[in-house]
Subunit: 469 residues, 2 copies
């Protein structure tokens, strides 16, 4: 029986087994696996072992692997060899068992580690607990889908490797080394991540790109000391003026970045994808009003959703120079500093962007002044090719489950581990998640819609079947 | 006998009496009249009384007038009525008896309040003590000139009012009110101040203008909170960019200020004055190299000496926004702030400059952002008319004493009391002083060249005679 043939029975089993799925999720939610606080280290260990035991019961060859911090749970369903002749990808599923701290505790309406179902006034049922969504609830949608396949067909539909880490909420600082050290073991054909959100409560979404980041610091020196503006004003170069000229020159009047060759490697979106994005109707009002703004500041002629996800940016993140205290001081400072970052997309080369920026700055520094640079990040963008077969299959599967076409969206920020999957393990990642904007992730009263949990499990079952082909 | 007729004998007397003049200066220098430190208040009182007794001996009707701080010494030689028919101006002489603190004391080669004459390797004799120059030595040049006239002619050559204050080194904070409260008593035809310097050791100088000051703060708000540059970058307005655009637009590429009507009231220098200034040969190298710069940053086509003294400026004195600590933070700040000041010359109207600047800024703030302003100073420039008879006479007198034409220079900064003499008392000020660039005013080992002291007394004698006409 193929996975596709088995799918109706698998979905039926998921519906029938929902209460048991919830019980299993609740058991995991009760473990206080707060990764940032060393006092909770035993609970993190307990959560890792709990997940490992569960995966073992599904037929995964499981181990709890120590790191310098909290352990990583690894589960392998196959021998890691490519299926001969098949076009079913071997997948690496990534999730995390650790959760954010719960403070301020007094803002929780019910204790964060005592999960419960709550019915809202509009009839929606929600799961309330720390980690209900991020990422225990989301990771469990995938695990429960695997469980249903195993129950119905006696096996998993694909060669699946599980990697469930315990330090995502404190920067995954030991995971990068772990991935490098275990590259051969972890390298599969495709990574799957369930840690993102839906477009809205009705519209499933696949995150197909993440912007890269180049973060630079400019340290400018003009005079070798601070000067009195009465004595020197008019003759001495003011580093704040020089910085302002540079920053002002960074963008053209139409909002695009003025550094030569900056747009090398930036691809235009395919027309159908662009039409999909337009159809989402993310107006400037809807996006900017909640933070007190109205007018999009980015490239003219681009939709706001492009500006924040599929187009590169240049932003000054900080600036300081001269006297910034109360009142007046008539100083021309000797030095000024700015932090400037670039969000990258497509095939923009971080090294070239960095060098292009530095040349752009140097060309604008007067001959008697000096500039030094600092670099904090240089990470390329990540994007899944729009013609990827896995992406098409996953989109179709999601569309069937939700009765609505799944959108592909770009995330404006970076998820470093996804970049590592690409650069270290050479594989693309499909990010599919069922979080909603009102899930209060990282905040008190975190929740996950019961519908998202249930249909999330069904979605993964459909995606697994689709990928199995 | 007219003052002019008496002048040769007065000068002779000055030369003969030099050691006694020095003794009197030393007696004043020994009083530790540090005005900023309350512990020295009795010494300030003592210095005031010392000066008062001395002035009384010259025939001044003298009083030590209390203020909320240290007292002001007032001495009047006449009844304050204009001399009938005469063209001799009644003058108000301003100086101060207080001195700067002496720390760091261990850098003094000899104790700061034990004045002495030291002979340098090049043969120059210098008076070393705190206040040797600023302003006890300088003020005494005027008092000793008066004394010589009194000794030779039995009277003073002009109607002179003395105002010697004791809070100049801590901001003259009670003097402004004192001048306002005693305006009728202090209003004369001309003020004389001996608290400035020579152009160089051979070239006497009269400071004929002081730049005014408008000091503004721009507080810009875009989003109502700090935003994540990954999520909002490309769509949300960045207040640092807005500020940079404004600052960059403040100057044209030729270095002039771009605010409409900014140059209203700025006069061109007369050709002869311009030629005098050019003759001083103040090259960019000479002026800027000591602070590590080379290239003048001001208006193209203007001499550096114009840029720093007779031309108006716009300078950003401080800027801050976003993240300015170590490392990287991907923030788009909600707010940014800059402090901007303008040095004014001629008849530039501080109120119009301020309003013109605010309009200039507002025109560049996007409609969904807000700007607030703060103002810390609005003071007009001060300048003596180049055709003032008193100026011509004083220049000629200085030229005769030093054997070199006296230059008229503009000071880049403000001396607020001189502005008050103009605005409150309606009189111009001639600033004539004999300080040299190497006098270490405000620093350890302050000195005053013996030659400056001696020829300073002679200079004032000549100026008094010239003004007496």
């Amino acid at each position: 029986m193929t996975a596709t043939d088995a799918l109706p029975k698998v979905l039926e089993r998921i519906d029938r087994d929902l209460q048991a799925s919830l019980d299993r999720l609740f058991a995991l939610l009760r473990i206080q696996s707060v990764s940032t606080d060393p006092a909770y280290a035993p609970q993190c260990q307990k959560a890792a072992e709990h997940v490992a035991v569960d995966l073992q019961s599904l037929g995964f060859d499981t181990s709890v692997r120590p790191t310098a911090g909290h352990p990583v749970v690894i589960g392998k369903s196959g021998n890691g060899k490519a299926a001969p002749g098949g076009n079913a990808p071997r997948v690496l599923f990534y999730g995390h068992y650790d959760v954010q701290p719960v403070d301020p505790l007094d803002l929780w309406q019910t204790p964060p580690f005592e999960p419960r179902i709550k019915t809202l006034d509009d009839g929606r049922k929600i799961i309330v607990a720390r980690g209900a969504c991020d990422d225990k609830g989301q990771a469990m949608t995938f695990i429960e889908a695997c469980r249903a396949f195993k129950a119905v067909t006696g096996t998993l539909p694909l060669d699946i490797t599980m990697m469930i880490e315990g330090e995502e909420e404190c920067g995954s600082k030991n995971l990068f080394g772990f991935v490098r050290d275990n590259a051969a073991e972890l390298k599969r054909d495709l990574a799957l991540v369930c840690d993102t959100g839906m477009w809205d409560a009705e519209t499933p979404s696949i995150t197909t790109s993440l912007r890269g980041l180049v973060y630079e610091e400019i340290r400018l020196t003009c005079a070798d000391r601070d000067l009195h503006s009465g004595l020197f004003g008019g003759a001495a170069r003011n580093p704040i003026h020089v910085l302002a000229d540079i920053i002002s020159a960074l963008h053209t009047p139409d909002g695009s970045v003025a550094i030569p060759n900056f747009y090398d490697g930036v691809h235009e979106l395919p027309d159908d994808i662009k039409a999909d994005l337009a159809g989402l109707g993310l107006t400037p009002e809807k996006f900017l009003q909640p933070v007190g703004l109205k007018i999009p500041a980015g490239e003219k002629g681009r939709m706001l959703i492009e500006q924040i996800s599929t187009r590169p940016t240049a932003e000054v993140n900080g600036i300081i120079g001269g006297y910034t205290g109360e009142g007046a001081k008539t100083v021309i400072p000797g030095k000024a500093m700015a932090k400037v970052s670039f969000r990258l997309v497509g095939a923009q080369d971080p090294e070239k962007i960095r060098n292009g920026f530095r040349d752009f700055v140097r060309a604008r520094v007067p001959a008697d002044c000096t500039v030094e640079f600092g670099n904090f990040t240089s990470a390329p963008a990540f994007e899944v090719a729009f013609d990827s077969p896995a992406l098409s299959r996953a989109r179709a599967a999601l569309g069937e489950e939700w009765g609505k076409k799944a959108v592909t969206v770009g995330a404006g920020g970076s998820i470093p581990i996804v970049g590592d999957f690409k650069t270290v393990l050479g594989m693309d990642t499909l990010m599919v998640g069922f979080a909603l904007d009102d899930d209060r992730v990282h905040s008190p009263n975190e929740k996950y819609d019961l519908k998202c949990f249930h249909k999330g499990i069904r979605s993964w079952a459909r995606i697994l079947a689709a990928l199995a082909g």
